[in-house]
């Protein structure tokens, strides 16, 4: 008797990855392994090799929550992003994510290390009460098929007196309806 295992692509749950866009060409790195921030516009960068001079900013990160398959589920929504863990010194972490007066979906622009004009909110340091990253330009937006969230834009702005970096955790959360 020959046993044949059959794995269904749709049948578990939705598959979700975090993508990042870099350079003027909007090159997409899928399923990034980290959100390290530093002095170059690169995904999965080495922060030790690309440190930030005190008083200067990291390059912006332009990232998306990307559903690559629905896996039999019907809906992905209620996107929340936040950071847990302290930053070094007096650095601040800014973002476009917000729970109210959402600015709509940002159109990609080459990431900069000057003060971000897009990321003008403070990154939450605990789970927001409601969605703070949109889909289709709206916080109440939903995905019922493969696709991506709006761009999450964030940047760390260091202080001239900062003497060390830090390690913290970026949280990307979504709700899924079977």
């Amino acid at each position: 008797m020959v046993k044949i295992k059959k794995y269904l692509v749709d049948g578990f749950a939705a598959t979700v990855e975090i993508d990042e866009a870099n350079t003027v060409s909007e090159t997409i790195t899928h399923n990034i392994t980290n959100s390290n921030m530093g002095s170059v516009d690169e995904a999965n960068l080495d922060p030790v090799a690309n440190p930030v001079i005190p008083g200067e900013n990291t390059f912006e990160k332009w990232q998306k929550i990307h559903v690559t398959a629905m896996g039999g589920s019907s809906l992905i929504n209620n996107l929340k992003v936040w950071r847990t863990g302290a930053l070094g010194g007096s650095a601040v972490h800014v973002t476009n994510a917000r729970t109210a007066s959402y600015g709509g979906a940002e159109t990609f622009a080459t990431p900069v290390d000057t003060d971000s004009t897009v990321a003008d909110q403070t990154m939450p340091t605990s789970e927001p009460a409601t969605a703070n990253l949109g889909i289709g330009g709206a916080l109440a937006g939903e995905l019922d098929d493969v696709g991506s969230s709006d761009y999450l834009v964030h940047q760390i702005q260091s202080d001239a007196g900062d003497v060390a970096g830090s390690t913290s955790t970026m949280n990307y959360q979504y709700d899924e309806t079977a």
């Binding site: 794995y7 692509v9 049948g11 578990f12 749950a13 939705a14 598959t15 979700v16 990855e17 993508d19 990042e20 060409s25 909007e26 090159t27 997409i28 790195t29 899928h30 399923n31 990034i32 392994t33 995904a43 999965n44 690559t68 398959a69 896996g71 589920s73 809906l75 992905i76 209620n78 959360q173 979504y174 709700d175 899924e176 309806t177 079977a178």
Partner: protein, 81 residues
């Protein structure tokens, strides 16, 4: 045309469709298979379904099976009186 890069391997694809169709040499699964995200991805999916109240028995059993296939420990069975 924008390039698409696999974050795990650095391999460059000409399109998102090509990226989604490839079998990862790291995980052995396509990016469209939840097992490509590993045990952590399976747990993330379970929690995402729990938050909407739609983690039914079948979905939980399927995800637990995937978790074990990926090398995770089988969940403890609840004792019934």
């Amino acid at each position: 045309m924008a390039k698409h890069i696999d974050g795990l391997t650095g391999k460059v694809f000409n399109s998102e469709a090509e990226y989604l169709a490839h079998v990862s040499p790291v995980t052995g699964f396509k990016p469209t298979d939840i097992r490509h995200q590993g045990k952590r991805g399976v747990l993330i999916a379970k929690n995402a379904l729990k938050r909407s109240g739609s983690l039914n028995k079948k979905a939980e059993a399927d995800l637990d099976k995937a978790y074990v296939e990926l090398g995770g420990k089988a969940p403890k069975k609840r004792k019934t009186k």
